[in-house]
């Protein structure tokens, strides 16, 4: 596990600026590709009693339970059209010293894009790191490490 985290950190440093573009409601969000572990079809989520609004429940991934959060709710996006092929993006979150694997349910996984650091406008400094134009569309660049802190 620690190896994988190390590899992720090193990859994060290498792949700085490369993001996975996903659709969450009406927003497009860019997830740092270095912290993305896997993209799978929407997993079957088992809701947890008394869970918060963003937490959809627990899913099974690789033989282990995986908490799944609703990305659209995380970025406060209005609900979009009924997705034709929803996905669950398995990511590492939290600071490098305490990373965890969670699932983010999104409406679609679009593509891998490069977001230049200079083009990004600073966001709230939290989970939404900032906004940047990608392919003529403004996307929200997410900070998964900050999500780990909030979680």
């Amino acid at each position: 596990m620690s190896d994988l985290l190390d590899q992720a950190e090193s990859r994060a440093r290498r792949e700085e600026g490369t993001h996975l573009l996903v659709r969450a409601g009406e927003y497009s969000c860019a997830l740092p590709l270095a912290l993305v572990r896997r993209v799978v079809r929407a997993l079957t989520v088992h809701p947890l009693p008394g869970a918060a609004g963003e937490l959809e429940g627990l899913a099974e991934f690789g033989g282990e339970p995986l908490p799944v959060l609703n990305l659209a709710r995380l970025v406060s996006s209005p609900p979009g059209a009924n997705p034709s092929y929803p996905v669950t993006v398995v990511v590492w979150v939290g600071p490098p010293e305490a990373r965890e694997t969670i699932g983010l349910s999104a409406d679609a996984a679009l593509e891998v894009v490069h977001v230049p650091a200079g083009s990004m406008v600073a966001g709230d400094g939290g989970f939404v790191q900032g906004e940047a134009p990608v392919g003529g569309e403004v996307v929200r660049v997410l900070n998964l490490e900050a999500l780990g802190n909030e979680a």
Binding site: Q7, R11, R14, E15, T18, L20, L33, A34, V36, R37, R38, V39, V40, R41, S84, Y85, V87, A109, E111, V112
Partner: protein, 559 residues
């Protein structure tokens, strides 16, 4: 036998001749002298004969006979004539009285007064009175019969006139009706000709319609067959479209599978890109492949979307086709149903056209026969019209003849009424009886009331009046059933007139005898009337007034 000998035979004691009165004794004496003279002459002649040698006895015989004759004449003939001469003045006086009665009776008879003529014959000898009464009675009876007959003739003439007038009026109406019927029949004949012509055309049109109905029926049958075939083909198209729909669903399932594969491939390419990024520099080639795979998946997905869109359009077209075929099938069913109904209707129409054609032909024949019959009726009606016109003319002649007959009856009645008969129908008798009744009534007012009552019971009297000798009107009594208010007011104008100028007054005042005035124009209604008037006497026999009654000639038959 001359009249004188007849009178002498009827009236005993009537002298032979008025010119020989007072000479009977002288004549008898002359006769006795002649007998004596003749006896002496005969004796002398016989004496001369005996002196010449003849016998003497004839002389003595003749002398004896002569003496006997003279003596007998002196004893018997002379006294007879003497007595006759003594009776002569009495007989002459009686004869003069009888002559006066007879003359008066004949004068009354000549005046038409059969009642008074009989009264004047009562002094005549029995046989003469009987003969005179019998003659007067026969004349009276004859006059009454003439009166009755004239009334009956006039009444019959009135009835004939009325009937003739009604018949003439009816004939005129009949003639007018015949003319109208003739015109109507001529119009009917013309109409019948038009009907026959139209019926022929209708029969022809109906025959054509029947033929057209046959053709139409065949066409509709073909149309029904064609529509049935179209319906079958539409059903086949619908079945095939349904099959295409089923196939489209399968294609959709395949497309879903392809889409899913493309999504999986896309996710796989993303994971490959993630892994390539994790591999660092070693994974860059792999990231290129992953990117190509992702592009390929994306293109596949786009192609699938294109195919899906096309398939959507295709499915939509198929659904539209199915709907259209269903509607077409329904429409074909409706068309088929209507075509079958039209076929039945055309068949009915064809049969009806056939029936119409036959009926129209029958109508044409019937109207042609009716036309011929109408022509005959028109000819007959024209003949009837001529007959009716002639009959109308004849009835008008009959009416005028009846009028003349009525006038003639009136004239006869007036002639008969010129006799004073002892009959209630004799106007002179009536007026005189009224006069006798009024003479007994004392005052003018009472006379007026009495005359009013008398007029009221005489329905044929239009007006009764009592006029003074100075021409003034004393009493006027109207018959309210015959005169209306206006006519009564006009009659009252008589009071302002001096009636002495009226012809009836002049006539009655000529002899103061009951008189009948021929018809003249009445003052009250300007209609013809005749008057009967008689003097009204005072107790001393002098004339006090004149009583008159007016009788309208239109109502005289009520007498």
């Amino acid at each position: 036998m001359d009249a004188e000998s007849t009178l002498a035979a009827v009236i005993p004691g009537v002298p032979m001749a008025p010119g020989r009165e007072g000479r009977h004794t002288e004549n008898a004496l002359v006769g006795w002298i002649l007998v004596v003279g003749l006896t002496l002459v005969g004796y002398l002649l016989l004496a001369l004969g005996s002196s010449a040698g003849g016998p003497s006895w004839p002389r003595h015989v003749f002398l004896g006979l002569g003496a006997a004759g003279v003596i007998s004449y002196g004893f018997w003939v002379f006294p007879y004539f003497r007595r006759l001469e003594l009776r002569l003045p009495v007989g002459r006086e009686r004869w003069s009285r009888l002559e006066t009665e007879l003359i008066t009776a004949f004068e009354q008879l000549g005046a038409g007064d059969l009642v008074r003529s009989i009264e004047h014959t009562r002094g005549l000898p029995e046989r003469l009175a009987k003969v005179s009464d019998a003659a007067s009675a026969a004349l009276s009876h004859l006059a009454q019969q003439i009166q009755d007959s004239s009334i009956e003739v006039a009444s019959a003439a009135d009835a004939v006139n009325e009937i003739a007038s009604e018949l003439a009026s009816g004939s005129s109406e009949q003639a007018a009706s015949v003319v109208e019927i003739t015109a109507a029949m001529e119009e009917l004949a013309r109409t019948a000709s038009m009907i026959a012509e139209n019926a022929s055309r209708q029969a022809e049109l109906a025959s054509r319609a029947e033929a057209s109905g046959d053709a139409g029926s065949a066409s509709v049958f073909e149309a029904v067959t064609g529509v049935e075939e179209v319906q079958k083909r539409i059903s086949a198209i619908a079945s095939r479209a349904d099959g295409l729909g089923t196939r489209s669903k399968e294609i959709y399932r395949v497309l879903d599978l392809i889409t899913e594969i493309a999504q999986e491939t896309h996710i796989l390419s993303l994971n490959a890109a993630i892994e390539a990024a994790a591999a660092g520099a070693d994974g860059r080639r792999f990231s290129v492949v992953a990117d190509e795979v992702r592009h390929l998946a994306q293109r596949s997905q786009e192609s699938v979307e294109s195919v899906r869109n096309l398939l959507d359009e295709f499915s939509s077209s198929i659904r539209a086709t199915i709907v259209a075929t269903e509607e077409g099938s329904k429409e074909a069913s409706r068309v088929l149903e209507r075509s079958r109904a039209a076929s039945i209707a055309i068949e009915d129409l064809r049969r009806a056209s056939g029936d119409t054609s036959r009926v129209a032909q029958q109508i044409s024949l019937a109207t042609q026969q009716q036309n011929s019959a109408s022509d005959e009726v028109v000819m007959t009606l024209r003949e009837v019209s001529l007959v009716v016109q002639r009959m109308t003319g004849g009835l008008k002649n009959l009416s005028s003849t009846a009028d003349r007959l009525n006038t003639l009856g009136l004239e006869i009645q007036l002639l008969a009424q010129s006799f004073h008969l002892d009959s209630p129908r004799s106007l002179k008798h009536l007026v005189e009886s009224w006069a006798r009744q009024l003479e007994k009534v004392p005052g003018v007012t009472e006379k007026e009331a009495a005359l009013e009552e008398l007029v009221r019971h005489a329905p044929f009297v239009e007006l009764g009046y009592l006029m003074g000798l100075d021409g003034s009107t004393l009493v006027l009594s109207f018959n309210r059933d015959l005169l209306d208010e206006r006519q009564r007011s006009l009659a009252a104008e008589v009071r302002k007139t001096d009636v002495r100028t009226r012809p009836w007054f002049k006539a009655v005042s000529r002899h103061w005898r009951t008189t009948l005035i021929p018809p003249y124009e009445s003052m009250q209604n300007s209609e013809a009337c005749f008057t009967v008037c008689t003097p009204l006497l005072n107790p001393d026999g002098s004339v006090a007034a004149v009583l008159g009654i007016d009788i309208n000639v239109t109502g005289w038959t009520r007498i």
